[in-house]
Symmetry: C2
Subunit: 328 residues, 2 copies
């Protein structure tokens, strides 16, 4: 039986979900909901209807699950609880400090509607979180490290663009190679913020802007840049478009521990991602968990769930016997 | 409430479980069961009783879970189903072709006794299987690769020791660096057995043995060596003991896929392990799944389970809210 899916929001992530669904023959995209004028939203598959977001409730008996592709700052905190009353939903909410409140809001709404709401799905939070959990469960006395990059940070790029005199900008987060080597070598280093990542900025100036002042403002910006070794390159809009328009990302999760009577045996777990397209990969994770949300709901597992609550087999279109035969 | 654990079989793996339990304050080792004379079994913690295996059933109301540390060839096929009638159990059964039959036998026994039996727990099968499943669910059109090593293969070492004229031997399985590089580079290569791994053998000869003939027999041994580039070193027993008495292992699971409208974006997932002690790491995984088996059983989830069936949160001693706060 095909799983009927709706997408809410059609930006880079929503488009990634459309692409990912096309790689999963057991799932079908039935509608895209948008707050924009539907005439202006061009899907890859023109046969799928684009529906005004205001009409989403009319689809509540026509869809098995909604994949929510809005942003964590303003869209998801209201959309996910609102929609979880009527639909099984999956979102990629990634504002870490607000996850407990988001969980509670989605849990109450989903329980009231006997629906299943999966939150904070993607790679971090998501697959990276899973790797931190598995590693900590297996090596409870170990030390864990997460590195991000090399990749484009949307939030840091936006922060640069808000500086007066800046026309456009992209920011790469880059793990420090010496820090990676030290962790891989089992040295269990204590690493400061500065020792873990560097930041590299490609900036297009407006005409007449003061380059030195822009660079100073970037490098001294609290939280975003002041705790990091930051490099600033001024380039043309053409070069930015040609060389920095992709959305690559990735990163590393390490767990390092000692076992044995005297702690004489080092054990190292490494998980890493190298992604040419961050939104398309995140979308692929969302789609796998959309399948799981439908299954959990069919079993009566209502309320809010995260990746920690989902038996891995629920993510796959294959049955248990096939999974044991092919992958165990 | 402390989880009361018994260990069946006290070799390298059983000893590893004793060590791992000491790193998990919510669990307590209550007894070790052995077919050997208990007087000859020396635990790290002498306060824990060593009990003849024949008396294991008398402990059925005193333990929450048994960790079975016998071998897959002869011990586990009978022990796991036998004990799963009376106890929650976890084993590391790793004879891949026989997993379906083992699953069925354990499932029937555990259901009859309202117990939970976790099979094929460790790193392969185990954590590697999980990574294959997660990667395939997220990137269903991708290609997957598993490499093992560098590490000691017990089965291959044993095979060499059975050759006439061989006194002792250790065999290392080694991934081919060029193959790893090609997969990491997203080239999606088709790799033959020979292109994926090499085998390096350290052999101690009996006095008067014919080195050339031993080397020929190793290199032409079907299944074990004939499909691989194999190197044979003859060394003294002293050198073998000094340099090759550890039990290191590890390996890599890769998933490589293309996403995007034209498949223009490469996405690469890598999971790798570098283990100084294979049995101690496997034991650490067994202990985390012993905790999960007890929880599944308390919920009424009877029968045989694998790593694919266990929600990750069940592996941790922490509650859901703590996990979401600390690891999500």
């Amino acid at each position: 039986m095909t799983i009927k899916v709706g997408i809410v929001g059609y930006g880079n992530l929503g488009r990634g979900v459309e692409l990912a669904l096309a790689q999963n023959p057991d799932m079908q995209l039935c509608a895209v909901f948008s707050r924009r004028d539907p005439a202006g939203v061009k899907l890859l598959n023109a046969a799928v209807p684009v529906v005004p977001f205001a009409q989403v409730q009319e689809w509540k008996d026509k869809l098995d699950v909604l994949v929510l592709c809005g942003g964590s700052a303003t869209d998801l905190p209201t959309q996910t609880p609102q929609l979880a009353q009527y639909f099984n939903v999956v979102d990629s909410f990634d504002t870490h400090a607000h996850i407990p409140a988001h969980f509670d809001a989605v849990d109450a709404a989903a329980r009231a509607g006997k629906k299943t709401g999966m939150i904070s799905v993607g790679w971090d939070p998501g697959l990276f979180s899973l790797n931190r959990l598995y590693a900590q469960a297996v090596l409870p006395q170990g030390k864990q490290y997460t590195f991000w990059g090399k990749g484009i940070s949307q939030g840091h790029s936006d922060a640069i663009r808000r500086i007066p005199g800046v026309k456009d900008a992209k920011q790469y987060t880059i793990p420090v190679p010496a820090a990676l080597d030290s962790v891989r070598g089992g040295e269990n280093p204590a690493l400061s913020t500065r020792q873990k990542h560097t930041r590299e900025c490609f900036v297009v100036l407006k005409e007449g802007a003061d380059a030195a002042e822009v660079e100073r403002q970037i490098k001294t910006m609290p939280n975003y840049f002041s705790d990091y070794d930051t490099t600033v390159h001024f380039i043309s809009q053409q070069e930015l478009n040609e060389k920095h328009s992709g959305m690559p990302h990735g990163g590393f999760v390490f767990a390092s521990a000692a076992t044995g009577k005297e702690g004489e045996h080092k054990q190292l777990i490494e998980y890493n991602l190298k992604l040419d397209s961050n939104p398309e990969f995140t979308a692929s994770v969302l789609v796998a968990y959309a399948r799981a949300a439908v299954r959990l709901n069919a079993e009566g597992q209502y309320g809010c769930k995260t990746v920690f609550d989902v038996p891995p087999a629920y993510l796959s279109a294959k049955d248990g016997a096939s999974l044991r035969k092919e992958l165990l």
